[in-house]
Symmetry: C2
Subunit: 167 residues, 2 copies
DNA sequence: TTAAACTTTCAATAATTACTGAAAGTTTAA
DNA sequence: TTAAACTTTCAGTAATTATTGAAAGTTTAA
């Protein structure tokens, strides 16, 4: 396997993986492309490399910037905009964890809390609903706390956590 | 908010959440319904409650069984099949974690390993591809190991882990 | 056996989600 | 200013994914 094949394989795998963790294919592919690029890329270069339209590129770059994963970079002497992604995997993982917590987990915790707080009318089904959603609420919240604490350890957090868990 | 409203809210929230962790809406809704039910439910009851077709119900129940989250239960004196879901949230979380590791993480680790093992032809771009995919490989593998070890602690694993991490 | 009760399969279709491309908008250099 | 260089927006369309429903398949009781 030589460069081009390996590159394509990486980008397409990362792309289809994206949908699993809640971002779309193009978004994940753009990030992947930037991740292995040796220099900032322009919209033009991204479109050409991934064979996607200008509109699509623009929209997905914006989303990546909203996530805080990609940033605009100025290149001396160039008028157009260039883009780079966070290159440190641990930092990348931190950003993603925090964003997912904010976007996905927090809203769910809220709903679970609301649902589990309905008044107990004494019926078995109400009791079961309360009991189960309470358990889910507690679990989800614990996991969210865990993620947010882990992530605050910054430097080398994943390895550090692994060590802590199994020493 | 009384029972029916709370129930609907829970089922629809869980349903839309499903797509975030890689299962479809109907599948997540069926699981949610079983999760708060006080007794095993038949296909008929599930269809009616969620207003989905027989075919859809059948296919998604199968998937839930493939995941190991839902099981068939026999009800005395009844010919048709009844279904129940794992009721313990911690056990549920364990099953999901293990399955996701197997279905999603493991294949990615393999691709990353393949890609990062290409021969270094000395060019900057090849060096960058190798370096970055190696870093990603290492991280992904560490996280996978972490998940699998955590999950083997069985009883009360989430709370235990939280304590370990922050004592 | 057979036929009723039930479940599964799958082609057709609906619903959702992603993508394009051209027009509108913005910025910058002259 | 203005016009070239560039980016964003968004209605239309394409691609993907989920759902239906009816036919085929299976099981069980008589």
């Amino acid at each position: 396997m030589e460069y081009q094949e390996a590159k394509d394989k990486f980008i397409s795998t990362w792309g289809s993986l994206g949908s699993l963790w809640g971002i779309n294919k193009a978004m994940a592919q753009i990030q992947a492309l930037l991740f292995i690029s040796t220099k900032p890329l322009s919209m033009e270069e991204i479109m050409e490399d991934l064979k996607i339209s200008r509109g699509n590129t623009s929209m997905n770059l914006r989303q990546l910037m909203d996530w805080g994963i990609v940033t605009k970079t100025l290149v001396a002497g160039e008028r157009k905009e260039f883009f780079t992604t966070e290159k440190d995997v641990q930092e990348l993982a931190r950003i993603i964890a925090v964003e997912r917590s904010r976007r996905e987990i927090k809203p769910v915790v809220k709903v679970l809390n609301d649902v589990s707080s309905i008044t107990d009318d004494g019926t078995a089904k109400t009791k079961e609903l309360i009991k189960q959603t309470k358990a889910l609420h507690e679990l989800t919240e614990t996991m969210d706390v865990m993620i947010n604490k882990l992530v605050n350890q910054k430097q080398n957090w994943i390895t550090k956590s692994l060590l802590k868990l199994f020493k």
